[in-house]
Symmetry: C2
Amino acid sequence: MTRRAETIELAVLGLLHEGPMHGYELRKRLNLMLGWGRVLSYGSLYPTLKKMLRTGLIEEAELGSVRPSRRPRITYQLTDDGHHRFEHLMTEVGPTAWEDETFGVRFAFFGRTDMESRLRVLEGRRSRLQERLHRVQADLARTQKEVDRYAAELQRHGVESVEREVDWLSRLIDAERRGGQPGPVDGAHLPAGTPDGGPPDRT
Amino acid sequence: MTRRAETIELAVLGLLHEGPMHGYELRKRLNLMLGWGRVLSYGSLYPTLKKMLRTGLIEEAELGSVRPSRRPRITYQLTDDGHHRFEHLMTEVGPTAWEDETFGVRFAFFGRTDMESRLRVLEGRRSRLQERLHRVQADLARTQKEVDRYAAELQRHGVESVEREVDWLSRLIDAERRGGQPGPVDGAHLPAGTPDGGPPDRT
DNA sequence: CACGGATATATCAATACGATACGTCGTGTG
DNA sequence: CACACGACGTATCGTATTGATATATCCGTG
């Protein structure tokens, strides 16, 4: 499976923890979740959903109170296999876990995995960015001859952005380490868990 | 032509202003130029070069002193049409000019266009980002019910990044305006301009 | 009630990617 | 020296991804 497809799969599995959802809604949530310009296209999402249905990671949800006149919408929910798959993907973090595309999704679901996995991903990502930084600076040292003013400014801004993300990660790692269980980020909200008292999804 | 292809074309045209280059080198320069994770793939570059050759934007450069044993490498240079095309693309800025992909390339070549075009692109990009910001915040207001702590932190960080880019753009716009012709950006850093109170923007 | 816009699923041609093949060169190493 | 190995350099191709579009229902508003 390609990187992209795997990311979508992970995202769907993660989101469905909040309760049954249909394609359109998954797409909206996802596009919002990662401030993204890059949006998730239907041409990617729907085929993925079908494949996941085929491989038994998700299933169509029974929805009792659907009004019969209502346009059919296919609401999906996790199967046990789906739960396991999610847990597996979140725990068995390989070196691909901290690439640009995947990292955001993984991070968004950190609340559903253990601290050890979180730290591994955060540190992996930080190394990745630092390495990128070093490479750019090395290249820059060699190519510095006569750089255009604007080109240089673009470089500077790029490097600065990455450095800031590194700082952000460092703060998170630090919080993770000292916070242990409870509160890594000064967050305003409590750990979600499954919101079982939660919203009746019925219309 | 699709957005991506147009971006590559612009990038090639811009780079070739520095002198003749061959594909491999263009790729390296390009990948460096935009701190990019997204790299330019051969599968995109070489076909684009051939198309540009066909449409007469570039031509093979005569290279006198090539050692005969040397593996053939195709060095390209701009034609007059290429120069015109570049100027046209940089000047006739439409609303597509400040999308994520294109903006970086355009910015890198700002030195080769006039202040008016620069300002239009910078302001366009800023509006684009602000609009994105507003949308996200609106969405956030509606969806804020029970947000997971990590998901929220990801949001926060995303918004913050965009806000910082907006600030960056504002500083650049400011510098452009007050700098007029000569030196909008300083060699190393930009004036940390607070908009109005502004004592000299000199570093 | 008619209109437009949000909701919702689905498909498909066009395009971009990334892996790989092929070959040359420079460099270090036993 | 000979050999391997990584950087240089062009080229192609199957496949994944996109983006646009078709279809259809629901709902709020003048």
